[in-house]
Point group: C2
Amino acid sequence: MAITSPRAALKRAELAGRLGCNLETIRYYERIELLPEPARTASGHRLYSNEDQVRLRFILRARSLGFSVEDVRSLLGINDGRPSCAEVRALAEAHRGDIRKRIADLKQMDRRLGEIMAGCTGAETPDCALTDKLFEDS
Amino acid sequence: MAITSPRAALKRAELAGRLGCNLETIRYYERIELLPEPARTASGHRLYSNEDQVRLRFILRARSLGFSVEDVRSLLGINDGRPSCAEVRALAEAHRGDIRKRIADLKQMDRRLGEIMAGCTGAETPDCALTDKLFEDS
DNA sequence: ACTTGTGTCTGTACCAACTACAGAGCGTAA
DNA sequence: TTACGCTCTGTAGTTGGTACAGACACAAGT
């Protein structure tokens, strides 16, 4: 039971292991002040509380949804105090717009790539329709 | 006529202007050896030949299709000599797989974001369903 | 000839968002 | 006690450029 208790103070590697992030990411988030400085043992080893864990989980989730570190800072109220629901929504909508733009850009790349690959047969010759097309005059 | 001749030696800004890239990008590509060192005037100003222009256009096009700089290096035969059509095709297929994976990832983000935004009404309150969900236990 | 304005040269610093590593110190089990 | 493994710190590397400072170069105007 105690093994998985969310209340025990965790060392850095334990926290990273639980939340599935890299060890160094935690120190990085501390450095850029997304995470507060944690408690320490007498000899200086970091000890993370349950509150720390909750906050880090929030950050990791927001990052996994593609929010930038600056966005996360805003969501956490680090920039201008705790954001209103309207502000959060605006941030999320803007971010969603970004995501959709990136999808559209990638789709266009895929389409263009398909066009340019037509004729590149994969024959074992040095002449290649793909590179030829990239070299062509505008 | 001479103004737009593709044979005239171009200065850096002229080349950048023609191909629509940033001035500094050209020097960057020279530094990482995608572009060869160009000719110089007596006083050291770079002069780009038509051949340089063709090569840079190739690089910019490949980059705009999402190929990495290392990919471009391979396509140009800088790594292991001029690639065969089969090698080019393999590179392009792998790259296309990458693009599609990125599209899939972004679509999933968009979907998850949509789910998590449900209930975030944008009302002018500090309580927000979106942040609440990000804070929730696993 | 001189000045002024613009272009170019070099080296280096900066961006995001981590990740990795070196060298030192700490903790614990045998 | 000694060995192993974890943690500490600071710093450098990653990708693909972009930006800037300070020193020259070049062309046009006076």
